[in-house]
C-alpha cells in the first residue's frame, strides 16, 4: 500500500467515527531522515516514522478541531469527540461558508518520489562523506545536511471530497568554512536522490569559501546587487508570508491590496504560486481538499491577486485557489509553491552589467520590520562579493541590510534564465532565479 493509500484509509476510518453536521479529516503518514554533519563528521543522524490525523467538526456554523498522532480506533474516536466538543463550545460563525464540495482536480504532474529505504543511512552517509571530502581535502571545514522525506497526505470530508497524494523530496546543504571565518554555501533539492551530485555540491561550497578568504567590510550605503537564487528564495518566502495571502489583503497590510492593478514593477516580473509545475514539489491540493490553481500574484509587473481558501474566497467573493493550511488555521491561506518566471540573463551577464555593486550568495536570519512595504532586515552570508567593472573583484565581510522588497523590485534590472528549487524554512519550496536589482540598502557591517 502506498503512503497516500495508507493515509486515505486512516482518513476514511476517522470520517466514519466523527459526528457532526459536517466533518473534515486530514490524515498523514510520514517518513523522514536527516544526516547532519559538522566539523567534517556526521554528528547527528536521525530518522522518524509518524502518522497524524486532524479532525474538523462543524455543528451548525460552529467549528472545532482536534488532532492526534495515534491512529488506533480508540485514539481516533477520542480525537473525533474532542473536535465535536470544541465545536459545541464554539460560537456560531455566520461567515462560515461550509466545507468545500468535491471539485475537478487538474492532473497532477507525475514526479519521481524519493524512497527513504533506498536513500537510507548508508547512502546518505556516503553522500555526506563525499560532500565533506571536498572541504577536508582543502583544509576547510564542512557542515550541512543530507535528508529525505516522503509523506502521504489524504483529505476526506462529509461532502464527498476524497483526495490523496504522496509528496516528498531529498535535500542536501553544505557550508564550507575557512579557518579565517570565510565561508561558502551550496544546496540541492529534488525528488530523485540519484540526481544529487554530492562531489560537485561540496566542490561549489568549498570554492566559494576559498574565494571568500580575505574579505573586507562593505561601507554601508545603497548598491546595485546581483542576488543568487538562494537569496532570492528568502525574499520570495517573506513576500508570500506578508503579502500574497488573502488575510493580509483583506486587512490591507499587503502591498497587493494597496497597488492591485497598478504597474508597480518592471514588466519582466511575474510571480506565481504553482504547485502543479513539473519543477515544483508541493501537493496538488490544499489541506481542505481543494485542487490547487496556478495563481498569478504579480503579472507582468502588476500586483494581480492573492491566494485563498474556502473561508477567504467567500469573504472576498473570489475563486478558491486551493491554498488552505491545516485547520485550525489562524494564519489564513498561504502560497507554498512560489516561483518567479525566468528571464533571459545569465548570472555572468548580470554581473557584467554592474559597474560597482554587490553579489549575494544567500541571506541569514531575515525578519520583517514593516509588512506593508515588506521592509526586511537580515545579513548576507557564505559568499558576498564586491562587483567592480563587471566582475567579482574581492570578497566582502557579511553585511546587514534593511530594505523594502517592494521598493527593491521596482528597480529590477534582470532575471536569471535558469531557476533553482530552494527549500524554505516552513517546509515549502520555491523556484527562484538570480535577480539583478538597481539598489539595495546595506546598513551595517560585521562586528
Amino acid at each position: 500500500m502506498s503512503m497516500h493509500e495508507t493515509a486515505a484509509e486512516i482518513a476514511e476510518r476517522t470520517l466514519a467515527l466523527a459526528r457532526g453536521d459536517e466533518v473534515e479529516v486530514l490524515a498523514s503518514v510520514e517518513r523522514s531522515a536527516l544526516t547532519r554533519f559538522a566539523n567534517n563528521r556526521i554528528h547527528q543522524n536521525v530518522a522518524e516514522r509518524s502518522a497524524g490525523v486532524s479532525v474538523r467538526v462543524v455543528v451548525g456554523t460552529r467549528q472545532g478541531c482536534a488532532a492526534t498522532d495515534r491512529v488506533d480506533e480508540e485514539s481516533l474516536e477520542r480525537c473525533c469527540e474532542r473536535a465535536r466538543e470544541a465545536a459545541l463550545r464554539a460560537p456560531e460563525d455566520p461567515s462560515f461558508p461550509g466545507l468545500p464540495e468535491p471539485s475537478e482536480a487538474a492532473a497532477a504532474p507525475a514526479r519521481p518520489l524519493p524512497d527513504p529505504d533506498a536513500f537510507g543511512p548508508d547512502a546518505r552517509a556516503e553522500a555526506a562523506a563525499a560532500i565533506i571530502a571536498q572541504s577536508a581535502e582543502r583544509g576547510l571545514t564542512a557542515a550541512g545536511t543530507v535528508s529525505v522525506r516522503a509523506a502521504g497526505i489524504a483529505v476526506a470530508n462529509s461532502r464527498g471530497v476524497r483526495l490523496a497524494a504522496t509528496t516528498g523530496a531529498a535535500r542536501a546543504t553544505v557550508l564550507s568554512m575557512h579557518a579565517s571565518g570565510a565561508s561558502g554555501w551550496a544546496s540541492w533539492l529534488g525528488t530523485d536522490p540519484a540526481e544529487l551530485a554530492a562531489d560537485s555540491l561540496g566542490d561549489r561550497a568549498a570554492l566559494l569559501a576559498e574565494r571568500s578568504v580575505g574579505a573586507e567590510p562593505l561601507e554601508p550605503g545603497s548598491y546595485p546587487v546581483v542576488l543568487a537564487p538562494d537569496a532570492v528564495a528568502d525574499l520570495l518566502d517573506f513576500l508570500g508570508y506578508t503579502s500574497f495571502g488573502a488575510r493580509a489583503y483583506f486587512e490591507r497590510s499587503s502591498f497587493v491590496a494597496l497597488h492591485e492593478g497598478e504597474r508597480l514593477f518592471p514588466e519582466t516580473l511575474t510571480i506565481v504560486d504553482d504547485a502543479l509545475s513539473p519543477e515544483a514539489v508541493g501537493l496538488p491540493f490544499d489541506f481542505e481538499g481543494v485542487p490547487k490553481h496556478r495563481v498569478a500574484l504579480v503579472e507582468r509587473g502588476v500586483p494581480a491577486g492573492v491566494v485563498t481558501d474556502s473561508y477567504w474566497a467567500a469573504k472576498l467573493a473570489r475563486t478558491n485557489t486551493g491554498h488552505a493550511l491545516p485547520a485550525p488555521n489562524p494564519w489564513g491561506p498561504m502560497p507554498l509553491d512560489l516561483a518567479i518566471e525566468p528571464g533571459d540573463a545569465t548570472v555572468d551577464e548580470m554581473i557584467a552589467a554592474v559597474e560597482r555593486g554587490v553579489y549575494v550568495t544567500r541571506f541569514h536570519y531575515v525578519n520583517v520590520e514593516d509588512p506593508a512595504t515588506v521592509l526586511l532586515t537580515g545579513m548576507t552570508r557564505d559568499g558576498t562579493f564586491l562587483i567592480e567593472d563587471g566582475r567579482l573583484s574581492r570578497p566582502l565581510a557579511n553585511a546587514r541590510f534593511t530594505q523594502s522588497v517592494v521598493e527593491a523590485l521596482k528597480g529590477l534590472q534582470a532575471i536569471g534564465r535558469t531557476r533553482e528549487l530552494v527549500g524554505t524554512e516552513d517546509g515549502g519550496a520555491c523556484l527562484a532565479p538570480a535577480l539583478a536589482l538597481a539598489s539595495w540598502q546595506f546598513t551595517g557591517q560585521t562586528g
Binding site: S32, A33, L34, T35, A38, R41, I42, H43, Q44, N45, V46, A47, R49, S50, G64, C65, A66, A67, T68, D69, R70, R78, R82, A83, A86, A90, P91, P121, R124, A125, T141, A143, T145, T173, E251, R252, S253, L258, A327, P328, N329, P330, H364, Y365, N367, V368, E369, D370, A372, L375, T377, G378, M379, N398, R400, Q403, T443, G444, T446, G447
Partner: protein, 480 residues
C-alpha cells in the same frame, strides 16, 4: 510509558548500542484564537511517541516512532543503531559524554488550576471580551488574541540506569491591537508580542494577566501610533523595557553561549558564535554591570525542569559575571569536549527530536534603579517597548531589533511617541555600553516559546528574566 522506554533500551542494547537513552513523551495542547471579533482557531492536539538515542561504533544515531507496538519499538532501536553505524564512517574519535549522576526520580511543576479543565467557551468569552474592548477604538481595524495551554508528561531512561518521570503544565496568552493605515501597520501588544506571555503554571496565570482590563490601553496606543513621529536616525542613549531586554539577552547572550554552537555543531543552519571556548573566565562580554545567570529551577518559568533530556539535574550557574564570560550552556557531549561537566541544558522539543543544547531561563540580574529615576537621569534618548522584529548574524554579533513603540526622552522626561523604533549594534560593544539596570521591582521572567534551532527544526520553550536597562551610544532609526 516506563515499560516502553525500558523495552527500547533493551532492544537498543541487543542491536549493539554501547549507550542508549529513551524518551517517551505525551503532550497535550490546546489553542483558541480570535481575530477582529471572530473565533479563527479552536482546537486541541495530543501526541505520544518514543525517541531512542544510541551510541554504536562510537557514533550517534536516533530514531523516533509514534507506533508504540513491541515490533515498532524494536524497529526504532535497530534503526537508531543502523544510523549510528552509518555515521561512524565519518568519525575520527568516538563520542564521549561527561559523567552524570544515575537518578531515579519524579518531578512535577506546580499548577493551581488545570487549564484543560477550564471550559472552552469560557476561554472564547475571555478573548472575545478583550477583542471587543480593543475594537472600541475606531482607528484599530484589526484585533487579535490567543490562549494556549500545554501539558507534558515524559519518561527518560538510560542504559546507565537513570529512570526519571517529569510533568509540567504551561499557559500562554496575549492580545494585540493593529491600526492599519495606507502603507503602515502599527501594532501594540499585551503583555508581550508574538503570542503574549507564556509561563509554567495553570489557568490562574491567564486570569492574572487581566487581558480585558489592558485592552483599551493598547488599542489607544495603537491608534496614537498613527500620529507618532518616525524614529530619528541617530546615535543616542536607549532604555529598553524588560520584554525587549529578554529578547536582547536571548539573541546576543543566550544563543552565543550555547556550547554546541561555540564548537561548530550548528554552523550550517543557525550559525556559530563569536565566543570561543577558550574565553571562559577571561572574555570581556560587557560592562561590569552585566550579570547573567542560567537557572533551570526558576519558579514558573517555561525554561524550568527537574532534569534535562539527558537526565542531568536542573542547575543554576553564572553565564556572565561582572561583564566576564563565566559559563556555557552545555550538554554531556559538548561539556566533555572542553573538559567540563554538563550544565544540564540538553533539551528536545518532543519525542521525535534529539536533545540539543538549549537555553533554560537565562536572565539578566536586576540592578538598583527605579525606572522613573532612570528616565529622569537621562538627558536625551529613546525609551522603547515590546519587540516587533529581531535579526542577528551567524556569529551572534551584528543584531538589529525593532520595537512596537518608543518615546523620546528629553531632559529626563518622556516626550513624543515614536512609531516603529529600531536599533542596531555589535554584541560586545553594545553590552559594554550598559550602564544601568532597573531593580527587582521591575524584573520579570518572560517566556519565549518560539526559539528555533537545529535540523530538523526544533522549537523550544525558553525564558529570560529581565528588567529595563540603559545603553549609551546606540545607533537607532536604521533606514527610517
Amino acid at each position: 510509558m516506563r515499560d516502553i522506554a525500558l523495552a527500547a533500551l533493551d532492544a537498543a542494547t541487543l542491536a549493539g548500542a554501547s549507550y542508549a537513552d529513551a524518551r517517551v513523551v505525551f503532550e497535550r495542547s490546546e489553542t483558541v484564537s480570535v481575530r477582529t471579533g471572530r473565533v479563527d482557531a479552536i482546537g486541541s492536539s495530543e501526541t505520544l511517541g518514543l525517541g531512542v538515542r544510541v551510541i554504536a561504533d562510537g557514533a550517534w544515531g536516533f530514531a523516533a516512532t509514534a507506533d508504540l507496538s513491541p515490533d515498532a519499538i524494536r524497529l526504532a532501536a535497530r534503526e537508531a543503531v543502523a544510523l549510528a553505524r552509518a555515521a561512524a564512517r565519518t568519525w575520527s574519535a568516538p563520542v564521549r559524554l561527561s559523567d552524570a549522576p544515575i537518578v531515579t526520580d519524579e518531578w512535577r511543576a506546580p499548577c493551581e488550576i488545570d487549564p484543560f479543565s477550564v471550559p472552552l467557551d469560557e476561554k472564547v468569552a475571555l478573548l472575545l471580551a478583550a477583542d471587543e474592548a480593543m475594537r472600541a477604538e475606531p482607528l484599530v481595524s484589526v484585533t487579535a488574541g490567543s490562549l494556549d495551554a500545554w501539558s507534558v508528561s515524559k519518561v527518560f531512561a538510560s542504559t546507565e540506569g537513570s529512570l526519571i518521570e517529569q510533568s509540567h503544565t504551561e499557559v500562554g496568552a496575549g492580545i494585540e491591537a493593529i491600526a492599519v493605515t495606507d502603507g503602515e501597520v502599527l501594532t501594540r501588544s499585551y503583555p508581550n508580542s508574538h503570542g503574549g506571555q507564556t509561563v509554567q503554571a495553570g489557568w490562574e496565570a491567564v486570569l492574572a494577566l487581566d487581558l480585558v482590563g489592558h485592552a483599551p490601553r493598547i488599542a489607544e496606543q495603537a491608534a496614537a501610533l498613527t500620529r507618532a513621529i518616525p524614529c530619528p536616525s541617530t546615535t543616542t542613549t536607549v532604555i529598553l523595557d524588560g520584554s525587549q531586554m529578554a529578547l536582547q539577552v536571548h539573541e546576543s547572550i543566550g544563543h552565543p553561549t550555547e556550547l554546541d554552537r561555540v564548537l561548530g555543531d550548528e554552523a550550517a543552519f543557525a550559525g556559530t558564535s563569536w565566543v570561543r571556548a577558550s574565553g571562559l573566565g577571561t572574555l570581556r562580554y560587557g560592562s561590569e554591570r552585566l550579570n547573567v545567570v542560567a537557572d533551570a529551577t526558576t519558579p514558573g518559568s517555561i525554561g524550568s525542569f527537574g532534569y534535562d533530556d539527558e537526565g542531568v539535574p536542573a542547575q543554576r550557574f553564572d553565564v556572565v559575571r561582572g561583564g566576564v564570560l563565566a559559563g556555557f550552556l552545555s550538554s554531556r557531549e559538548s561539556a566533555v569536549a572542553i573538559g567540563r561537566s554538563s550544565t544540564g541544558c540538553a533539551r528536545a522539543s518532543g519525542w521525535d527530536r534529539i536533545p540539543l543544547v538549549r537555553m533554560t531561563t537565562v536572565s539578566l540580574e536586576p540592578g538598583e534603579w527605579d525606572l522613573d529615576d532612570l528616565i529622569a537621569d537621562t538627558r536625551e534618548g529613546i525609551y522603547m517597548e515590546t519587540n516587533s522584529s529581531w535579526s542577528i548574524d551567524d556569529k551572534r554579533l551584528n543584531f538589529q531589533f525593532a520595537c512596537e513603540i518608543g518615546w523620546e526622552i528629553k531632559d529626563g522626561k518622556l516626550g513624543r511617541m515614536i512609531k516603529n523604533p529600531n536599533y542596531t549594534g555589535i554584541t560586545p560593544q553594545f553590552w559594554s555600553s550598559l550602564d544601568a539596570v532597573c531593580s527587582p521591582r521591575h524584573w520579570q521572567v518572560w517566556g519565549v516559546p518560539n526559539c528555533g534551532k537545529g535540523e530538523p527544526m526544533q522549537v523550544a520553550h525558553v525564558a529570560h528574566g529581565a528588567a529595563p536597562a540603559r545603553f549609551r551610544n546606540v545607533q537607532v532609526g536604521v533606514a527610517r
